[in-house]
Symmetry: C2
Subunit: 374 residues, 2 copies
DNA sequence: AGAAGTTCCGAAACCGGTTTCGGCAAGATG
DNA sequence: CATCTTGCCGAAACCGGTTTCGGAACTTCT
């Protein structure tokens, strides 16, 4: 109560110092001040310093949108997240955003975020943000082999950078994790332990990474000198249930794999379920190596061996690339790859049974009455 | 290759249609067009329609920052997330963001997001965003009883809305989940099942919710007609390890509780660990009810009974309130509470032992040699 | 019919910056 | 010493909107 009622003229605050105030205070033209602050070459060094000093003495902060009206840039990176879909990266969303925010902040930029419920919604939101110039460009997470966002942005001449590769890279800047190399490494590790039949659970079709990881698996077989059996590649699985089904099917083969390489952790979780149902011990009877590095994997027994991705770094790198893209650098110079880090935990080891023994065990467990119907 | 080289004058695109273009096309003054589009009362209905039609015929989209220069509003809600700290809500971050984005989008606003590494960093980022007018106001997640952000924003006359309450609500708009009511309900449910000694694991001191939940616990005891024993309130626990220690200590009391109410799920996870170490079965020997609704809780055995929060709704509501705040509504009209939803799962049931029996069991298990030294 | 209101729109100022242009003064050149 | 540069800054236009102001045309009232 008391004196609290000092009725200011509504949201006046102290009206900020504008560039005109600053110019008046310095006795110069405001154009000069502007050029001084923006490092134009036709300003004397002494003047530049005087201006700068006065600027922070008066606490001058240019309005981003007032600058934008002339420069056409609001210094903001756009990000449209699609939240409906499966998302192994969801636990890391905060890290990803932190990476973007940090890199943006360093360059004196900001991030404009929106969430979409569908592909179409994503396009709509991006076009709106671009039209109103709320963002100067976009980071595109989760790329498809054929990505409608890419064609739309290319057509609209809106700068962007992909997190992931795409079918036709022309006009695209991108950053990606070499997950195919991780898959190769997984196969080689397993082969070195003595596995000769190694199954593969692919990711969602359409996504670029799914194709790449499959290639990485094949490359691993080749380097290990193992022959490829199409039957050892299951149906795609992006969640626990599908992962269980996939593993179940692979393990029911006449000559089942003794090790599984999974494209995503969630599928690997399902493989644990399948193994449990069949009375198989993970890391012994069945080895599993996966990809994503989800924290839940560490809680399983045995903990899941998987490849983890530094999403904070990814966000930061993508932001740098996007800003440089917006500033006009050629896309060919704005492409980068990083490696995934292997988390060597307990879910893989030397095979304890031959495929034949494993098949016998499975058949016995799975069809206790010996039937093979259905 | 081929013809691909059509060398446009760099990022020309087709230069957007401005309000002047539109005015020229209509043969009117641009001021008139602006007023027509913004529903000024001194524009004839027919004119308004003509303008609107022409606007979407030409695909006119005003530049947000060009508007802002005069209106002083960029139509953006600011959000600064602190990512270093413990965070039970982290798995729901996407939902929270989706709620904000949706509500903002509905009002034709956007969201500007930043992440900070410390309290100080948060203040710095908010002040920068506000100064540059990249955001018109802020959503403040995770409030403290004494919140430096609140005083800073009040001093700077920057609009904001709290997610959570704070010690001194003057000048504050807020939205919160009534987690104290959830705690009360938890106690009542346990009392109804026959528990008479119910322990409480508080949340982090300083946070407003911690105090409220403690009060809710006390209120529950009171309503259930149970007497309060200070020893039944443990040290604060915000993570699994501390939760385990807290539960261990409570269970080692001479007259231990047969049920635990935990302020946060993570602490409850620790209680599971403690129970396992003591050979106690959750839901039988020890009942647990918690708060947060983290998905991991459903994977425990038995699944954790907990209160879940609709963070998408929270984000949406906060955004509505903030926008109304920015538009000048009084803070007193911008306060709202919502309820948490109880997820009735397997971690609570009637007590299978009396406190005395439980104490005996614990002592036997925990000190197999009967000693009481360290 | 003239005065007084209303309705509705054009013209211009304005917001806070950036960028262009031109010119003065000092230094370099012949 | 005259001229040509060059360095440096002021003045003004400009960006794309919004808001104020004033007045023409049209009603309404007396």
């Amino acid at each position: 109560m008391a004196i609290a009622d000092n009725k200011r003229p509504r949201s006046t605050g102290r009206s900020r110092t504008t560039i005109s105030d600053l110019a008046a205070h310095l006795g110069m033209a405001k154009g000069t001040v502007s050029r001084a602050l923006n490092d134009y070459p036709d300003i004397a060094e002494g003047t530049r310093l005087r201006v700068r000093r006065a600027a922070d003495a008066l606490g001058y902060r240019p309005l981003a949108h007032a600058q934008a009206i002339r420069t056409g840039r609001v210094r903001s990176v756009g990000l449209v997240l699609q939240v409906n879909e499966h998302d192994g990266h969801r636990p890391f969303l905060a890290d990803f955003l932190a990476g973007i925010s940090e890199a943006a902040s360093t360059a004196d930029w900001t991030m404009t975020l929106a969430t979409a419920a569908s592909d179409q919604d994503t396009l709509r939101l991006m076009s709106k943000l671009a039209d109103e110039q709320k963002a100067d460009g976009f980071i595109l997470p989760r790329t498809y082999l054929e990505d409608t966002r890419v064609s739309a942005l290319l057509a609209g001449d809106v700068p962007f950078v992909l997190f992931g590769r795409t079918g036709d890279p022309r006009g695209c800047a991108w950053f990606d994790i070499e997950s195919e190399a991780a898959m190769t490494e997984a196969v080689l590790r397993l082969a070195k332990l003595g596995h000769t039949r190694i199954g593969f659970v692919p990711g969602g079709p359409g996504y670029t990474y799914a194709t790449l990881r499959r290639q990485g698996y094949l490359e691993g077989l080749k380097q290990a000198g193992l022959s490829f059996h199409p039957a050892l590649i299951s149906e795609p699985a992006l969640n626990r249930v599908d992962g269980e089904l996939a593993a179940q099917k692979l393990l029911s083969l006449d000559v089942p794999p003794t090790a599984l390489v999974c494209s995503v952790d969630r599928a690997a979780f399902g493989a644990y379920d399948a193994a449990a149902a069949l009375g198989l011990e993970i890391g012994k009877d069945l080895s599993v190596i996966s990809y994503d590095g989800m924290p839940e994997g560490a809680l399983l027994s045995p903990p899941l061996s998987t490849f983890s991705v530094d999403l904070r770094h990814a966000g930061a790198r993508l932001t740098e690339l996007l800003i440089r893209r917006i500033r006009g650098e050629a896309v060919e110079d704005l492409r980068d790859l990083a490696k995934a880090r292997f988390l060597d935990r307990g879910s893989h080891g030397p095979p304890t049974r031959t495929p034949a023994e494993l098949a016998h065990h499975v058949k016995h467990q799975w069809f206790p009455t010996g039937g093979r119907t259905k």
